[in-house]
Every structure is written in structure tokens, then in C-alpha cells.
Symmetry: C2
Subunit: 169 residues, 2 copies
């Protein structure tokens, strides 16, 4: 994370998987971490066809679901039927955020870019001119999974504003 | 895999983890695939300190173990004790190649660069002038885990020689 380029999806997915292993204690009790790992490993494969929609790009989100659904059907459809069904189900589970495993995977998916932006002195926050309120809104699901992780996020955000990595308004 | 640069360890580790999920049927019966995934996710983290030793670099292998053991102790030692012990054990298990999980992880670790070199028309085989016999020797553990994967490797190698990606001698 030297800010020489944006992280790619393989690197991002590897980071999430390692975070699932090492931060597992912050998941809701009973969360199946092996299932979380599988989910984060495949959650961004649709970007091969659908491209990456920047987290703070409201226009890009208008057709994100449709683009990604088409991509998932084509890419996971390359697999034998049973594997296609399994990985499509994992991806839909991640997108729906309605199981403990998906909620934890989703929290990690928000936490990891925060760490990246903090580590690189602002990273894509600065490039896109994002404000504290927008980042706080995006990070909300983290505190819903774990108060401790949520507090950690607030601490990182306060430091980011103090250091000039993130605009307060 | 467009041959514009070498794959980095995060990308390589993500590839192995996804391969563990999708090629799991080729592991020895009873192999715990979730354990394989954990092992491949952390197997190359030591390269942060120890560097990457090229698979066909006989000189680099003389002090590889010592460099990597030191790296593992420092890097995994950054974690709380219980996590340090768990990940050190995973890494030692991968290195010892004496469990079904480590044998499968090791087979994937050899298969994935083969696919990379084939996909890029020779990749690091060409750059290092490696011969068929050396690659065949390195791929042997794959056939020991799965005859079907071993046959697939032989097919890729035959095509690689026929297409001029790999020197026969």
C-alpha cells in the first residue's frame, strides 16, 4: 500500500480473506468463518465483466446490480452446474447482506479500503474529494456487526481528519 | 495474466484459494478444503521479509529455509500469541507437505504458475530458460495427489513444448 496504484480485485479479495481469518473474533457469535472466507474470495469476480463501481459513485450505482447480475451469470456459468449454483449462491448471499456471514464479509469489504486510504494518506478519498460524513455513512454496517470494530473505525476517521487525509466537510 | 509483469504474492495466494474451492474434488478423499484455503492464504506471507525464491533457482534454495523461518517468526509474531501459534502451525504444515491438506495446497502452488506460464506463452520459463525436464520434476507432486490433475499437467506441458513456450532440452 504505497499509493503507486489502486489495489486490484485479487489483492483486495486476498486481504479480506486474511482479515476474515485474523479478525474472526469480531464477527457475530456463531458466524461460520470458513463460509465468510469463501464468500470474500469470490465476491468481486463479477468485476471482470461489470467493472468496479467506486464506493462513492452514486451514478455508477444506478445500473450496478443489472451489470453485475449479468456478469455473475456469464462468469460463474462457465463452471459445471453444481459449482455454478454454489458460487452464484455465495455471491447472492454476499450481496443480500442478510446472514451473519454476509454481514461480516460486508463489514470487512468496507473496513479494508478504509485501512488502505488511511495507510496511503488519503488515497482514493482525496482523489474523489470524499467527505467525512460520506465515509461515516459507508462504514455504518461495521459498527452494526461489532461495536469494537466500529469504535476502531471512528478512531481511524478522527485521525484521518486530523492529519488532513479526509475532508471534514 | 497478460505478461505485463510478474504476478505478486497476494494475487498468487488468491488464485490458489479460489483453485482450492473449485478443484477440491481432485484432493485426496477426506481433505479439509477450508483448512487448505487457510494454508494457501498465508503460505507466502514470509516473502515480505524473505523475498521470493524462484522455483528453479538452486542457489536461492540453499538458505531459503533459514530466511523464511526468521521471517515467519517476526511477521506472525506481530499477532496475539494464540493467532501467532495458529498461523505459524499452518505455515509449518504447508512447508512439511505431510498432511493431505498440505499436499493439495502444495500441488496447487505448483499448478498455478504452470497455468500462468502457459497462458503467457512461456512467461518465467522463457525468461529463465527452464527446460521440460526441470518443470516435469517440479510438477511431480501434483500427480501424487491426483492422477487426473497429473495427466492435465502433462497435456499442458506437451502443448507448451509444441508451441515453443518451453524448451524440450
Amino acid at each position: 500500500m504505497d499509493d503507486s496504484r489502486r489495489e486490484n480485485s485479487a489483492e483486495h479479495s486476498w486481504h479480506l480473506a486474511v482479515m476474515a481469518l485474523t479478525l474472526g473474533e469480531y464477527a457475530e457469535p456463531g458466524t461460520d468463518l470458513a463460509h465468510v472466507v469463501k464468500m470474500v474470495l469470490v465476491h468481486d469476480i463479477v468485476e471482470i465483466d461489470a467493472g468496479d463501481t467506486f464506493a462513492y459513485d452514486t451514478q455508477g450505482y444506478t445500473d450496478k446490480n443489472e451489470r453485475e447480475e449479468r456478469a455473475a451469470n456469464r462468469i460463474f456459468g462457465l463452471l459445471p452446474d453444481a459449482q455454478r449454483d454454489e458460487i452464484l449462491a455465495l455471491w447472492h448471499e454476499f450481496e443480500a447482506i442478510s446472514t451473519p456471514e454476509a454481514r461480516f464479509a460486508n463489514a470487512l469489504d468496507r473496513l479494508e479500503p478504509l485501512l488502505g486510504n488511511y495507510t496511503t494518506g488519503g488515497g482514493s478519498w482525496k482523489k474523489a474529494g470524499v467527505t467525512l460524513a460520506k465515509v461515516q455513512k459507508r462504514m455504518e454496517p461495521i459498527a452494526n456487526v461489532s461495536a469494537a470494530l466500529g469504535a476502531y473505525v471512528q478512531q481511524i476517521l478522527s485521525e484521518s481528519v486530523a492529519k488532513g487525509y479526509l475532508r471534514e466537510s
